[in-house]
Amino acid sequence: MRPEPVELCGVPLRGPILNGSGTFDAIAAHRAFGDALLESFPFDCFVSKTITVAPRDGNPPPRLWEAPAGMINSIGLPNKGLERFLELDLPQLATLPVPLCVSVMGFSHDELATLVGAVGAVEDIGLVEINVSCPNVETGTIVGADPGETEAAVRRLRPLTEKPLIVKLTPSATDPAAVAAAAEAAGADAVALINTLKGMAIDPRTRQPSLGNRTGGLSGPAVRAVALEQVAAVAARVDIPIVGMGGIASGRDADDFLAAGASVVAVGTESFRDPAAGRRIAAELAAIRAAMRDASAGAAL
């Protein structure tokens, strides 16, 4: 069963399932699965890995550690950098069968402006996500942790593009709803949450941190309850659409996020376990919504 089409900030989507930024590499997946990937593409909108101005190698391995009902990662935003992304990756991503959202992160307002200006001028890009929340890079938490910083950053970026701006919030903020309200006041078109929660694991053999970067971000079903609460808290404070995510692994989970106030949802860690998870979750969600419609139609009779 296919879900109903939706609109996200004026961009029509065939359904309500996105991927979380950094949890799916469509180009690598195409190498592994070939054109069959495109014929049954698992998401209704594709969100790129976060792009920075300069290329980044990412963090030293080990980068992953399994956690109870989830995992901790310290990937460190490896990417080709803006110039090579636009030259090498974008032409390939533009051929995906769904709208494209490009995620960007800058270490200063000037860098952010460069990124938003550049991707905002590309016709093939439908939406721009501003990552103010990646907890793996030391400076990443600064903007998103503070409503005033977030408002100042979005105000600077807002005039640079007509494309919808989605602000990806950090769950480590003292009051994420206040940060969301600040983003809305500065002209953001939507907010996305949650990013991974800061976490750590100890290797019992060495009694040292398991990850090469010592700390990382926790994701998977382990964070779902935290995510739901934050989505509900943000929904109570803003009128702009919310992209809800955090441990969604089933249509039931997705519907919980919609009930909490999300307009659309994103799947992340579950895709690691099954690249078709987005499609499965969409079908399960559509069945749940259809059953709800049938039930309310029955009640009306």
Partner: protein, 273 residues
């Protein structure tokens, strides 16, 4: 999107359920045979699958396992009719994932994704193939040995194990591999790179294909580098997805980090940093 030629068989883009046909104890290891009903019949030796028990994957010690686990396939036997394949995986029960997989019995569901990654390629005609395996790393060499033999390029096979129990895996090979054990309980006592060095000093016109623990692969690289022999190494790394999504399984190369799952697992030793 365009695809460049790589030594890989493409995987269906979804996790599917295979049926466990048997789980056989081979000394210290388990050999799982599973029937994959819709997967491609022709994975490339060196490619791998992400495996998870179809039921009760999670809720074990420490509420794990959660992520699937990557295993090179050991052997593949296509089913009659051109679709589907019986796959064999060799595993050692060392953690919550491998222990749960080791509990499986015939008829149980096995969730799998694959085949994934880039496999082995035949060496040029003027160089003989020489396979070097250590421990559980002998798994991908089984199907590669079979394929080279079928193509009339019978390789030398040098295997190293901890002890006699582990060395039982050598019996799975078609020929008579040269076996070393750390404790000398079977074959020669010592590490596999000692017979490797002797072999290559006798005839360096070879390409080494190796899979095994990190320390063994480092030693293989060093011997091959010293003697000017090309080496292809099948690497292992912890990974969440197996298809390039998580960026967790990187290894340093001369061009920066590469993902073991999509850029490997088989790498030319010369590109590794």
């Amino acid at each position: 999107m365009t695809l460049t030629a790589e030594a890989r068989t493409l995987a269906p883009p979804e996790r599917r359920i295979a049926e466990v046909r048997s789980v056989e104890r081979i000394g210290a290891y388990d050999l799982i045979t599973a029937r994959d009903p819709i997967g491609p019949p022709d994975p490339r030796p060196g490619q791998f699958y992400m495996l998870a028990a179809g039921e009760r994957w999670g809720g074990g010690a420490g509420e794990r396992p959660y992520l699937p686990r990557a295993f090179s396939y050991a052997r593949a036997r296509p089913l009659a009719g051109g679709q589907g394949v019986d796959l064999q995986f060799l595993l050692e029960e060392v953690g919550p994932g491998t222990c749960r997989l080791g509990e499986l019995v015939a008829g149980d569901p096995l969730a799998l994704l694959g085949p994934l990654g880039i496999g082995f390629e035949s060496p040029p005609a003027d160089r003989r193939p020489l396979l070097v395996g250590g421990g559980i790393g002998v798994a991908p060499l089984l199907c590669w040995d079979d394929e080279l033999r079928a193509g009339a390029r019978e390789p030398g096979v040098l295997l190293g194990f901890r002890s006699a129990g582990h060395a039982r895996a050598a019996d799975l090979f078609a020929g008579s591999p040269d076996v070393s054990t750390d404790d000398g309980s079977v074959g020669r006592a010592g590490v596999v790179t000692e017979p490797l060095r002797a072999d290559l000093e006798r005839d360096p016109l070879a390409v080494v294909h190796a899979c095994g623990p990190e320390g063994m692969l480092d030693a293989v690289r060093s011997v091959c580098g010293e003697l000017g022999v090309p080496a292809r190494l099948a690497l292992e790394a912890g990974m969440a997805c197996g298809y390039g999504a998580c960026f967790g399984c990187v290894v340093p190369t001369v061009d920066g980090y590469a993902r073991v799952c999509v850029d490997g697992p088989v790498f030319d030793a010369a590109v590794l940093a």
